[in-house]
């Protein structure tokens, strides 16, 4: 959940240069983190296309 919060903050706020560098380096070097970023974006897309 901590990573999801971190990922959300990155996409919904305006990250500074330090955070941008750190975030992108993690995506490239940490496959688990990259998977969480992809999941976050895919989950939001699926949620919007699903009906009750």
């Amino acid at each position: 959940m901590d990573n999801l919060d971190y990922i959300e903050n990155y996409f919904t706020n305006t990250p500074g240069p330090g955070l941008i560098r750190e975030f992108e380096e993690r995506i490239i070097s940490d496959p688990g983190f990259a998977e969480e970023v992809a999941f976050y974006l895919a989950a939001q897309d699926v949620s919007k296309k699903t009906t009750f």
Partner: protein
Amino acid sequence: MDSAGSNRYTDQELIDQLRQSGVDKRRSEEQLFNRFAYFVREGMTKHALSEDESFNAYSDTILAALDNINKAHFEARASLKTYLYQIFHNKCVDLLRKRTTNKNTVHRAEMISDRLMQLSDSARSVVQTLIDKADWNRLREKLNELEEKCRQILMFWGDNYSDKEIASFLQYKTADVVKTSRLRCLERLRKLYKTE
């Protein structure tokens, strides 16, 4: 006698009358409709629906409740008020989502690509590859396996509503509570998606 001077049935008496036929049934249907008609106002204040939308949600609620009572699907485990309010609340939420889906489809369709464009080429390429490999049907199936409240939160989030708006729609105390619940639901979805 109630304040209007008419007989006011208990829940059980009303249910018994609704399962009859003829004049008694019609009178009890009218009483059911009038008894909770104040929900229409709540639909307008709590769910930001128009009067027409809220009235339609309320009418549909009564029809659904009558159908369930007639088919004996209503087991009176909750009071009529609680039972009807739950149906009404869900119908309001349905209306809100339909309204959003019609209004913001184009904007939201661009959300993933907009967000990917926030990343540098190399980071974007890694995430795009993973998104392309995602099993969308499985993700959708797992979303539908979540409990109703979680699904509702995530669907409003998917529709790009703020946590403050979701708090108002789903009657959470604060936006912070919504955010915490939403991220927990998202984590639950991720675990379901990853677990075979």
